[in-house]
Amino acid sequence: MSKENVGIVIVSHSSDVARGTADMVRQMVGDEVPLAWCGGDPDGGLGTSVETILGAIDQAWSQAGVAILVDLGGAETNSEMAIEMQPEERRSRIAICNAPIVEGAVMAATEASGGASLDIVRQTAEELSPG
């Protein structure tokens, strides 16, 4: 796995959705991008957890940065919180993509696997969003 490429983090309320999305990325894009996923609240129910998001960011960390794909509201809020809790030098190299989680993750990872910058990776994922 190349640590030169932008990493992808998938954050869903459901661990099944997060894992399934990661499976699709792996199968469609391969192993060229650092990839991590997390889903579920601290008790294993539906929800998201800052603690597990922090862990996923660490796992997918790359010098080129990390793009995060989220599903619903709390996933975004918790991801923003996790970014703020990162060391300062990391914060500007993490981006939350405003994109549908499955399609966005696949598109972002495809772009990242070609060595694109974090900005380009995010833009590519966000092309999927209306408006």
Partner: protein, 208 residues
Amino acid sequence: MLSDRESRRALIATVAQAVIDHADELTALDQAIGDGDHGINMKRGAEAVLADLDSLADKTLPEGLKGIGMALVMKVGGASGPLYGTFLMSLGKALPEEGGAEDLVAAFDAALQAVMARGKSHPGQKTMLDVLAPALECLKADPRAPAALSAAAGAAAEATIPMQAERGRASFLGERSIGHMDPGARSSALIIDTVCKTLEATGEAAGT
């Protein structure tokens, strides 16, 4: 303000217990217009706070507030974790150790702004901000009137019933969100009410 350990410990424990006791009510409100996890999430956060009660009470008020905020951020699991966590961490950050009532007003204002930024929201969108913003106005009018603050927070939560949600999961419902109290507004009012009543009972509010 809350300079002795026992009064801090009692306040933290009472508020956490009130949240736990009202978990079912909060969940029922959230089932009507949200995803039905607000009570469960807030209860999990309150239990995390209770588990750490002694060390939180050992801290000064500002440091204790930051500690509670961090516990909520890490343990709650829904959007309410970062929102309440941001509120309490900002409150703790803005509050001087030997603060008086005026400092509380300024700190509450800073904390409200931080929640607005975190939630990308403003009052009027059927959220916790619709309780926190009127609560700030009430504090500005008289920072030493817990009964008035408690009443204002309760009335503000009631006033979210006819509002249409514009943020969070409830906004997906559009007009169908009208007619239900916002769960975050209710939990905010509950917490404010419990803090006010506890401080009033111990005479803390008069001295602040």
